[in-house]
């Protein structure tokens, strides 16, 4: 082993003593894992490595290289390491990683943190444990196979000897690294934390108000900035009168942020920043700015008219994404047909913590502190914004006050860096108001979906045609992008119904606002359309909706979706049917007697490799107000590391989904976003949210871990509108429901 000058401190943010040892693990293509001593890497870049160390006193240090935004990931991944190592949770320290390419992709999105890192982390911890066991065996002159690590000690059962990890670290670091094939893993029965859960590591900090979110970070000497952005996407400052703004007490000056260049990516929107010595003064100064803006190609963007263009595209033949059998022939010979179109609006992410960041530019380098899902994109965007190398940007990741996809985009951090550079290196904290957040988001696409089915005598489809049209996330990276790209693999081309003639088409659409992914992305409108249409067909056929969905899904079979998912992640229809059957049982579906204004609805959807079915109970009063007393959700996400946190994600997804179904909507007029704060961009409050969300996580430890954070969202809206139909006879074909029932 080529031990080199590679400094442990370059792996672990804080100092570890000289006798500490640090392991690195990475996933190899094909699912294998490789583990190495960090010292032996000699600075070589490893794809997707994760880091774990043992300090001289036996403290286990796990680097959290993913961002914590409420999923519990800062707790769940270290838990895996602790269990496999035989560590005592109380002696595990979690350190948040800075942004660094050596960690591979750190973008915490796509519900993939456990999915990607469970196996390498276990291999790494098993390696460390076996080295500790060898060290103890050597010390006692007994075979290593007789030693086992538990509760932060290595125990020799025969002689009753015990040694704390701290006593063994130095010698463990000198033991040969076990080969991958020789790794022995703990049996599931030995786990103390995996599958059981521990309280989140930040619990105490959160309930005492001491947790440091991006909004709470501070650097000595920093100034505060609030940025006036162009009201229409693509417009720029024509003229500025800042005389009154500068008269506001606490305001020192204003600065320009240059306009966007193509492709937009995650760059700042440009505009005028007010610099002040506290946040409030900066906000007050903003109100006194007089800015004239140039015209933009998007000045006429109006969401109602835009909706018509999306619907027109979905009503005509479009780009074919999937095609089986002969849909057209089946339509012409069908006993009956049914068609329907659905619409869903733009949505804003609205995490409780608005975008905020601190940056300091010094000598061509930048240090940033940000609540970001994507610290490496911070490095890239900031570097491009100030003209330095990404490696010269240090991005410290704070706790995130929610992300939902918004904080994968890094415009707000680049603003802080650009302003700090203009101020000659003074640290700058950019604080977005809620109005900035709602008006200058990367919006979830508005969408039009269209469906047509040819039906046999029993009302089962013999042919299914579906079209989806929405402005594409890809437009942020390629201004000419008109088609959905990867978004089409999200609940659209992977519809799992067993229908001989099937065609899926994607209509072209131009983006007029920034588009970005929001918790579960295109699955939201695709599940809404597909599940609603299936619901309509069941009703038309006079059949039970659960039974009908099971019939549509059809036989037990595995298929590879297009684009194919990771190895081991075929679409397994048996798992989809199982969650549906189980949720029907759990919710008392078969026995429930609907009455006027009170009914159940159901939907089932697979996303992020996780199979989810929800039954929603609605009660609708005479004014058309919808209450949701209960939601039942059954989830098959394969092996689940932290079921307690997983449940909380699905509880939260029911609330998030209820907001989407009932009240959330972004609209535009004259190119400007009309909503501004929680008064007009409505999200579910405690008295509007589902009251009792009952989540069951199917135990399926033989299947690899799948997504948790996002897949709970898609089934909720169609289950709610399915229930609304059953309760009122009114079919909801556009979201949100708002006053449609009044």
């Amino acid at each position: 082993m080529n031990a080199t000058a590679l400094n442990r401190r370059s792996f672990l943010g804080t100092a570890l003593s000289a006798s500490a040892f640090v392991l690195v693990a990475r996933a190899l293509p094909g699912g294998e894992t490789e583990v190495a001593l960090a010292d032996a890497l000699n600075g070589a870049a490893w794809h997707l490595p994760i880091y774990m160390g043992l300090d001289a006193d036996g403290t286990v240090v796990v680097i959290a290289h993913r961002s914590e935004m409420g999923t519990g990931i800062r707790t769940s991944l270290p838990m895996v390491a602790a269990d496999e190592l035989g560590a005592d949770w109380k002696r595990v320290r979690i350190e948040q990683a800075i942004g660094d390419k050596k960690y591979g992709d750190q973008n915490t999105d796509g519900s993939k943190s456990v999915r990607d890192f469970y196996t390498p982390l276990r291999a790494e911890a098993a390696t460390a444990r076996m080295m500790l066991e060898s060290a103890a065996a050597q010390k006692w002159g007994v075979p290593a196979s007789e030693c086992s690590a538990q509760n932060h000690q290595v125990v020799h059962a025969k002689s009753g000897r015990k040694a704390d990890f701290g006593e063994l670290v130095a010698s463990a670091a000198q033991q040969p690294l076990p080969k991958n094939d020789d790794l022995k893993f703990k049996a599931a029965s030995e786990y103390r934390y995996i599958g059981k859960g521990v309280p989140i590591t930040d619990m105490n900090a959160i309930v005492t108000g001491k947790g440091v979110f991006g909004m709470d970070a501070a650097v000595p000497g920093m100034v505060y900035a609030s940025v006036e952005h162009p009201p229409v996407f693509g417009s720029t400052v024509k003229s500025l009168d800042d005389a009154d703004a500068k008269k506001v007490a606490g305001v020192s000056q204003t600065l320009r942020i240059p306009p966007l260049k193509l492709p937009y990516g995650f760059q700042p929107l440009g505009g005028v920043a007010v610099i002040a010595d506290n946040t409030w003064a900066a906000f007050q100064g903003r109100k006194k700015l007089n800015v004239q803006w140039t015209e933009s190609a998007h000045d006429s963007h109006e969401s109602a008219a835009y909706r018509k263009t999306l619907e027109a595209a979905s009503a005509t033949a479009a780009h074919v994404e999937r095609n089986e059998g002969d849909v057209d022939a089946a339509f012409s010979s069908a006993a009956g047909t049914h068609e329907a179109a659905y619409y869903a609006p733009y949505l804003a992410h609205a995490p409780m913590e608005p975008p905020v960041a601190i940056a300091q530019y010094q000598d061509g380098k930048v240090t940033a502190w940000a609540p970001t899902q994507n610290p490496q994109a911070v490095q890239d965007t900031v570097a491009a914004a100030v003209g330095c190398k990404p490696a010269d940007v240090v991005c410290n990741v704070t706790l995130l006050g929610g992300g939902f996809g918004r904080k994968s985009k890094t415009d707000y951090v680049a603003e802080a860096a650009m302003l700090s550079k203009q101020l000659g290196g003074k640290p700058v904290k950019v604080v977005w108001s809620r109005e900035d957040d709602i008006k200058f988001d990367f919006y979830h696409s508005s969408s039009s979906t269209y469906f047509k089915a040819a039906l046999d005598a029993k009302g089962r489809p013999t042919a299914w045609l579906q079209r989806s049209t929405f402005p594409s996330i890809m437009a942020m990276f390629d201004p000419n992008a008109r088609y959905g790209g990867f978004s089409l693999g999200m609940g659209f081309t992977d519809v799992p119904f067993e229908i001989a003639n099937f065609r899926a088409e994607n209509g072209a659409a131009e983006a007029h606002v920034r588009i970005g992914w929001l918790r579960s992305v295109a699955n939201i409108y695709h599940a809404f359309g597909v599940q609603s249409f299936a619901d309509e067909l069941a009703q038309k056929a006079g059949r039970d909706r659960v039974e009908y969905l099971l019939d549509l899904i059809g036989s037990d079979r595995n298929f590879v979706t297009n684009p194919p998912q990771m190895k081991g992640f075929d679409f397994e229809t048996a798992r989809l049917k199982r969650v549906l059957t189980q949720v029907a049982e759990q919710s008392g579906w078969a026995k429930f007697k609907p009455s006027k204004g009170h009914a159940l609805g159901v939907a089932v959807h697979r996303s992020f490799l996780t199979y989810v079915a929800s039954v929603v109970e609605v009660v609708i009063d005479d004014n058309g107000k919808v209450k949701i007393p209960r939601v039942d959700t059954v989830v098959d996400a394969g092996l689940v590391v932290n079921p307690e946190r997983a449940k909380s994600q699905f509880e939260g997804a029911a609330v998030f989904g209820a907001g989407i179904a009932l009240m959330s909507e972004i609209t535009a007029a004259n190119g400007r976003i009309k909503q501004s704060n929680f008064n007009d961009y409505r999200v579910a409050r405690i008295n509007e949210a589902p009251v009792d969300v009952r989540v069951t996580i199917v135990k399926n430890d033989s299947a690899p871990p799948a997504g948790i954070g996002e897949p709970g969202v898609p089934p909720i809206a169609p289950a709610i509108t399915s229930a609304i139909f059953a309760a009122t006879g009114k079919r909801i074909r556009e979201l949100p429901v708002k006053s449609q029932l009044a």
Binding site: M69, G70, T279, F283, G402, S648, A654, D692
Partner: protein, 153 residues
């Protein structure tokens, strides 16, 4: 004009703009960042503190209205993070991202002062000004009941 007030038991004097909201005084000037900024418009409850024992939105409370009064923030709610609500919050694993939770706890603490054993409806009425975008509402309800029942679920 100088404003005297008490924050978490300590006497404070403020000599700036009396229109400045208490929120920004706490956060930017006193570095008491447990009180959060969520909307700045009285719409989300993230900034909830107690003013003379009553829950108020710090973003809607100009400092002149806090003159001569006692402000209690999440940092001052208990000495060791052991207020019955804080304990219940941990026991019920309420927080997800956690950003809204200081405000939720301060709002709930005010509720328990007037309703020692609140009903679900009383909880909904008292808490509907506090948004949790992560959707932890059912656990918030559960934790309030727990705290009201001496820590029992």
């Amino acid at each position: 004009m100088s404003i005297q007030l008490q924050v978490n038991g300590a006497a404070r004097q403020f000599d700036g703009d009396p229109e400045m909201p208490l929120l920004w005084y706490l956060r930017d000037l006193l570095q008491l960042t447990g009180t959060k900024f969520g909307c700045g418009a009285g719409l989300c409850g993230a900034c909830t503190v107690h003013l003379n024992g009553e829950a108020v939105r710090a973003c809607q409370t100009p400092l002149k209205e806090a003159a001569g009064k006692k402000v209690l923030t999440i940092e001052g709610l208990s000495t060791h993070g052991d207020h019955p609500l804080q304990k219940a919050w941990a026991a019920a694993n309420v927080p997800q991202c956690g950003y809204c939770q200081s405000g939720q706890i301060m709002q709930a603490a005010a509720l328990l002062k007037t309703h020692a054993k609140p009903s679900d409806t009383q909880i909904d009425d008292a808490m509907q000004g506090n948004i949790c975008r992560c959707g932890t509402y059912q656990r918030i309800r559960q934790a309030i009941h727990m705290a009201a029942n001496g820590g029992k679920a």
